[in-house]
């Protein structure tokens, strides 16, 4: 009876969900490493630059409203070259999902489940991820819709409650003899906002109504605001020196909030539920991307692509458990983000330019 499509609001919530990921737990740590107390400035600039790049993807998507990114690549570059260019993107999505599942499982083990084995945590998480991805993009859209307000409420509450512990002096001096570091931190800041490419996968499932780009822009801005605020608050609460030693400062921040003489003295278990939801959402979106990528790569039709989920979940599970050392996994994760950012910066803008040129020629 009803033709199902993603709404404009869902475009926003999905974009937010794809950008927020395991990065939310550790973005402050890495930004401070690069630009010390000015890490938030690098992050803000990186975020604003990511908006520009995100709109390159958006343009590519609206030029091909019935296709998603892997299909567009095959259409523009032909079956062989298209598959060749698509393969690293497909591989990235699986590796990202596997590594971020591992990092999150480590964080949970460290803060909540010290006796539970990592393979069990990842296993449970991936089973639920597989179920959600198997159910399709509209179910994913609904999940994003529900998770979004809960997460926004929790993050805002956490930030507000942390203000009383903040020391603004720890943010000073601003940009004093630190400009080089700030500039060097822009690229690492930029890569924390990866995930916006989801628009090129979901645009073909939207109503394509006027004003979709506004909701997409909101979806890009919200993570920038929250990441920058989290970095500012974390620097104010922990100081630069301490922050460098904290791998997951967001979890430490939520643990530091106390309500003496109330029914619950600490809320880290409840806030953990929100982090779990955020990482989960990011995982399902990345899995969705990888399912689409590999399905197009292998020539599997849309009707049967959901079965690809199980193969990719198994692959991600193996990836997540390959490296025994936790710290090494973090390095792999950041290297992966950097490599992918560079790759897409090289591939996607020329591809969009070519698509524009092709459109212009066909109009003439």
């Amino acid at each position: 009876m009803i033709t199902e499509r993603l709404s404009k609001v869902q475009v926003m919530t999905i974009t937010v969900g794809a950008i927020f990921g395991v990065d939310i737990l550790m973005v402050q740590h890495y930004m401070v490493k690069f630009a010390r107390q000015d890490g938030w400035i690098s992050l803000a600039i990186g975020g604003l630059l990511s908006i520009g790049f995100a709109f390159v993807y958006y343009l590519l998507a609206i030029l091909h409203p019935d296709l998603d990114l892997p299909e567009i690549m095959l259409k523009l570059c032909g079956p062989f070259l298209g598959r060749l260019l698509l393969f690293p993107i497909a591989l990235y999505a699986v590796l990202y999902a596997g590594l971020s599942a591992r990092i999150f499982a480590q964080a949970l083990k460290m803060f909540l489940l010290d006796r539970t084995p990592i393979y069990a945590i990842i296993g449970l998480m991936l089973v639920v991820v597989a179920y959600s991805v198997y159910k399709g993009i509209y179910v994913i859209g609904s999940i994003s819709d529900v998770i979004f307000p809960i997460c926004v409420f929790t993050i805002v509450s956490m930030l507000l409650m942390s203000f009383q512990q903040m020391d603004l002096d720890r943010l000073q001096p601003v940009l004093f003899e630190n400009t080089d570091n700030v500039v060097r931190g822009i690229f690492p800041g930029f890569r924390h906002f990866l995930g916006f490419e989801i628009i090129a996968y979901v645009y073909c499932h939207t109503y394509r109504a006027k004003g979709t780009y506004k909701w997409f822009s909101a979806g890009l801005l919200i993570p920038i605001i929250f990441y920058v605020m989290l970095t500012v608050v974390s620097i104010g609460v922990f100081s630069v020196g301490s922050l460098k030693g904290l791998i997951f400062p967001t979890l430490t921040l939520s643990k530091s909030i106390e309500f003496p003489a109330t029914f619950l003295e600490r809320l880290e278990s409840f806030t953990a539920v929100v982090w779990i939801a955020l990482v989960f959402e990011s995982l399902i979106l990345f899995f969705y991307m990888s399912v689409r990528d590999f399905s197009v790569l292998l020539g599997i039709s849309r009707r049967y692509d959901k079965y690809m989920t199980f193969a990719l979940i198994a692959a991600a599970y193996i990836v997540s458990l390959l490296e025994p050392h936790g710290i090494q996994v973090l390095d792999y994760f950041l290297t992966l983000l950097s490599a992918y950012t560079l790759y897409t910066l090289i591939i996607i803008p020329p591809l969009t330019g070519y698509a524009l040129l092709k459109r212009r020629r066909s109009k003439q």
Binding site: I2, S7, L108, S142, F263, A277
Partner: protein, 525 residues
């Protein structure tokens, strides 16, 4: 070969079903009424409740007979308006040649509203089984099916499962005609449509599809009708049973239809653009399509001030969460994250658990099992004894179990609050679903702590998001979020702000009422 393979793959088999009246279509009435009555009695296995009365029309030698089921007809009407008329007032039915005229009998003699000509045995048998009286006359190959139905049943009473504080106090009964009357009385709209269908190869139950033409979307009506007509079953007794055969996800734990015994609820549903179904012999109706927020609504919400109604509705959502999660959260907090609780509370919980030989999870499962036994026993036993069971079970056994050290007092409190919360859910099937999914959450909590609960919730969210009822997402209008429709979901906004029908149902007539001009204060109920 290909068709055979297709048939094998689809698992369908060509079957000739026994017990249906389809095969009787080939048999037509004979001019001899003796043959006709014998054949009819044979078809209906000479059951004792099938009455036949043979007589002569007036002073002629033309013989006639009526056949009916005594428990389904008003015998006084049959005697006075059919038999008596034919025996005594037969001059009206003679034509100029002194012969009996069937058309004249039908048009001028039988003072009953519903009289139909018939000639095949399938129609006759079905008519008699439905409560019609069959009249056949010697020499005619046509007969008359006369409706003189009178079903015996209880009178309209109060709703048992969905009581209301302020609203109407009428509930459906087992008689279709009475139920239809209850709805007709509330909507005096000529567009209110009742489509009657026969369902069940053997039962041939009357099932009525109800909607308001011009409000309910045509595609929705067609979809429901097509699915209804596609059902191939020998017997159905309730509309819920029918709905299970129509839904895409019949195995869903969550109810995908709204079952109600309240006519006012059916009327409200149809007025929004939904479709209802009611079946002969069942004291409830179902409304389609349904979403989770619809199931959380209660009739009382609309008889109270909007602020009170909103608070009550939100309380219900909280109760749903408590019903599903509370024991799991208790187990997870005490087993994995006791640091979250104030020290004095942790000590108090620990002290209350001293001497209890079981771990918290076993305690919880034991209490859950006891609670289920109590609820089941309470339903099965007569109402007076049921209350005694509740008192004995709830108070005496609970107290004794605590004193014996089998369970801790805090666990009794946790399970009691959980049980009370499940009773606050307005839809019984939804409440049942919350009871079932509570157990996996307890197991997840004991295995993975709050992480397990979070994953369980996310799985539940994915499951709920994947449910569809006639193309409608189960979480509509919460997701996909529809700001206008959400005024009657988590909250209940003032009625004057809800002047349009729910958008997600795609009603043909969108305007429910015109908001009063210049209305800017929510002082309306």
């Amino acid at each position: 070969m290909l068709s055979l393979l297709k048939k094998l793959a689809s698992g369908k088999k060509d079957r000739i079903y026994e017990g249906t009246t389809e095969h009787l279509k080939q048999f037509r009435l004979s001019p001899n009424i003796g043959d006709n009555t014998t054949r009819l009695l044979d078809i209906m296995n000479n059951s004792f409740d099938i009455k036949t009365r043979a007589f002569k029309i007036g002073r002629t030698n033309t013989r006639a007979a009526v056949i009916y089921i005594s428990e389904l007809v008003d015998e006084i009407t049959v005697n006075n308006n059919i038999i008596k008329s034919l025996i005594l007032e037969s001059t009206f039915v003679m034509d100029k040649n002194g012969k009996v005229d069937l058309d004249l009998i039908k048009d001028s003699m039988l003072s009953l509203a519903d009289v139909e000509e018939t000639e095949t045995f399938d129609e006759i048998v079905l008519g008699i089984m439905s409560g019609d009286t069959f009249l056949c006359i010697q020499g005619f190959t046509k007969g008359l099916l006369i409706s003189a139905r009178k079903y015996k049943g209880r009178t309209v009473g109060q709703p048992n499962l969905e009581p209301s504080v302020k609203g109407p106090q009428e509930a459906f009964v087992e008689m279709l005609s009475v139920n239809i009357g209850l709805i007709r009385r509330r909507i005096r709209d000529p567009n209110l449509t009742f489509e009657i269908h026969k369902l069940g190869r053997r039962a041939k139950a009357d099932i009525v599809l109800m909607y308001i033409k011009g409000i309910a979307h045509k595609d929705l009506i067609d979809d429901i009708r097509n699915k209804l007509l596609a059902i191939d079953i020998d017997k159905v007794t309730t509309a819920v049973e029918v709905s299970k055969l129509m839904l895409d996800r019949p195995h869903s734990i969550f109810p995908l239809v709204q079952v109600t015994e309240r006519p006012d609820k059916v009327v409200a549903a149809m007025n929004e653009g939904r479709v209802a179904m009611i079946i002969e012999g069942a004291p409830d109706a179902i409304t389609l399509p349904v979403t989770l927020p619809i199931l959380m609504q209660s009739s009382d919400d609309y008889f109270e001030n909007w602020m009170a109604a909103t608070v009550i509705r939100m309380t219900r959502y909280v109760c749903f969460l408590i019903s599903v999660l509370f024991p799991a959260i208790y187990i997870s907090t005490t087993s994995y994250h006791p640091g979250m609780l104030p020290t004095r509370l942790v000590l108090s919980i620990t002290a209350s658990r001293t001497g209890v030989p079981f771990p918290a999870v076993l305690e919880a499962l034991l209490m859950e099992f006891t609670l289920e036994i109590l609820q089941e026993a309470g339903i099965r036993l007569p109402r007076v004894v049921g209350q005694t069971v509740s008192i004995v079970g709830g108070l005496v056994i609970g107290q004794a179990a605590v004193q014996a050290g089998v369970v801790s007092p805090i666990m009794v409190i946790v399970i009691s609050i959980t049980a009370l919360s499940s009773f606050a859910i307005p839809d019984y099937s939804l409440s049942m679903a919350s009871r079932i999914i509570r157990i996996p959450f307890i197991l997840l909590a004991v295995t993975f702590g709050s992480f397990g609960i979070a994953m369980g919730m996310l799985f539940l969210l994915a499951y709920l998001s994947s449910l569809r009822c006639f193309g409608l997402s189960y979480l509509t209008p919460l997701t996909p979020f529809r700001p206008r429709d959400s005024r009657d979901s988590l909250i209940r906004a003032p009625l004057w702000t809800m002047h349009k029908r729910p958008e997600f149902l795609h009603p043909e007539d969108t305007i429910k009422h015109v908001p009063p001009a210049g209305r800017n204060e929510p002082n309306d109920n």
